[in-house]
Amino acid sequence: MSGHDDSALDRLPSGIAGFDLILNGGFLKGGLYIVQGPPGSGKTILGNQICFNHVRGSGRALYVTLLAEYHARMMQHLSIMSFFDSSKIPDQLAYLNGLGELHANGLPGLLGLLRREITKRGASVLVIDGVVAARRAADDERAFNAFVQELQAVAIATDCTVFMLTSAQGTRITPEHTMVDGIIELVDQLSGWVAESGLQVVKFRGSSVLRGRHAFKITNDGIIVHPRIEALLARPSRPDPGSAARVQSGVDQLDIMLDGGLPESSTTMVMGPSGTGKTTLGLQFLTKCSVSEPGLLFGFYETPPRLNAKIAAVCQPLGSLIDSGAVEVLWQPPTDDLLDAYGGRLLRAIHRRKVRRLFIDGLGAFLQAAGSEPSRIGNFLTALMNEMRVLGVTTLYTLEGPDLMGPTTRIPIGDLSSLAENLLMLRFVELRSRLYRLLSILKVRDSQFDASLHEYATTSQGLVIDATSDSAERIMSGYARQSEGVAPPDRQPRERRGR
């Protein structure tokens, strides 16, 4: 009686972190895979990267080209990649050209060469670059099918994972598509002026994968794959602890208005136009961090020098928390990367330091990074925020509105209820040639709160909110009367108002 063959599920990691996440750990050892995509989409880099990652330890790999591209040229191009290690060539990684054998002895000759070289070199990874040449060399489709079938038998018998790189792509299903263990498709498409690279696992036998398209970039570190956050976090990684505790917002009066602080592990959106103090409020939120309750500032717009200047001006206690490592600042320009790259970077930073307080300064950068797929942003943020919740991260983020002042506020994103459990709004009100700042709480998760408007000021101590809504009441009624042509009430400026 034969038992289960667990080795059939042994994995061969690609060595590309994001790709292995998509593949649920890697390719299946001894499998036969097609990697297809148009010229320039990154197939050769991917094939080489898998080889070099495999031989980083004691593995052996074989790269067989059926192309006119010369190995010397290929290596020149690869030599700038960080994964390239010439010391692994030729003992652990050999480059051979199979075109001569293919021309001389056809597909049977090529198959024999592959089998002998795999065995002789003890290769556990084989990449065949330019499979289209083998297809052209076949007398007919049946002959090529036989070649694929026999190659699969070789892969199984030698426990060698085989990758066939081909420029064939699209919706046409060829017989080899039905025979292989998996198909990876690389796409390269223009979105306006921007070229976007995507990867999709079209087929994968024997294992679940993260379906759909995932973005990737070709860098000097090779291909970096960014799994689609919505797919990666389709289900949060753990159950929601459902905490009813409160955490301090960093602004005493705001905690009073919130009936004791922000709900722990909740998500708070701070909306308002530029200059209302959203970032300052976020900085104050982080002043409640400690070594045991680490914080992260994930920012896009305020560069580190400008942020340091702001901290020195309005939130000095945060400086020492950053110095002590209780708070980490991660800044990136909003034009620098892909939506899922930002998401992945944020998740890694959260896990790395077990962050409990997160301040994302500039949610608009995510909208911007969504580029040609703005419809993704809702699901992207929902998935991300759901994960923050189950990780016990209390999140506060800012979203800039387009209206500088006035009675209406437009929000540049839909489905707010799924994106934020708590909503704070900061706004300007103009009255008698002077700007006033007003704060209001629109929503707090499962909680009572003070729904009235409160005037606040930005000071060297950060935001200072009036204890009562009296002044806000006067401003708003004055504003209303002024709109109707009635003079506003006199008001003496107070020392702490404005900077």
């Binding site: 050999a94 050209n97 070289e117």
Partner: protein, 125 residues
């Protein structure tokens, strides 16, 4: 003028060296791996061999070793070729007289042929 054996699994490289050396008036024979190269050497006695390192069936190091063990072939100068640095190969390849790093220039090939064929006692030139 002499006879040159080019052993390389990359057709394009072998064809290029062929074209360069034929223009210089040499005769060129091509083999696609070390085993074929030895088969050619059993019938021909070239004045110079351009030998690739990484090849299927039999690599350049093995062919060099076989040439070194055959007294009749020891005098044939061999130019070892590879896209990987000579330092990586030097210890495992004994008996070659010069190294040609790929990708190379046309003048590299003509200069090597001019220098080595002229010095080969077996040269027919």
């Amino acid at each position: 003028m002499g006879t040159v054996l080019v052993v390389d699994d990359e057709f394009g490289i072998a064809d290029l060296i062929d074209a360069i050396l034929v223009d210089e008036g040499h005769r060129v024979v091509i083999a696609v791996n070390g085993r074929q190269g030895l088969e050619v050497l059993a019938k021909e006695h070239p004045d110079l061999v351009f030998l690739d390192y990484m090849m299927p069936v039999m690599d350049g190091a093995t062919m060099l070793r076989a040439m070194g063990e055959d007294a009749s072939l020891q005098s044939i100068p061999v130019v070892l070729m590879s896209s990987i640095p000579e330092a990586t190969l030097a210890e495992r390849c004994m008996g070659y007289v010069s190294f040609l790093r790929k990708p190379f220039k046309v003048t590299d090939v003509t200069a090597l042929a001019a220098r080595l064929i002229g010095k080969n006692p077996a040269s027919t030139s």
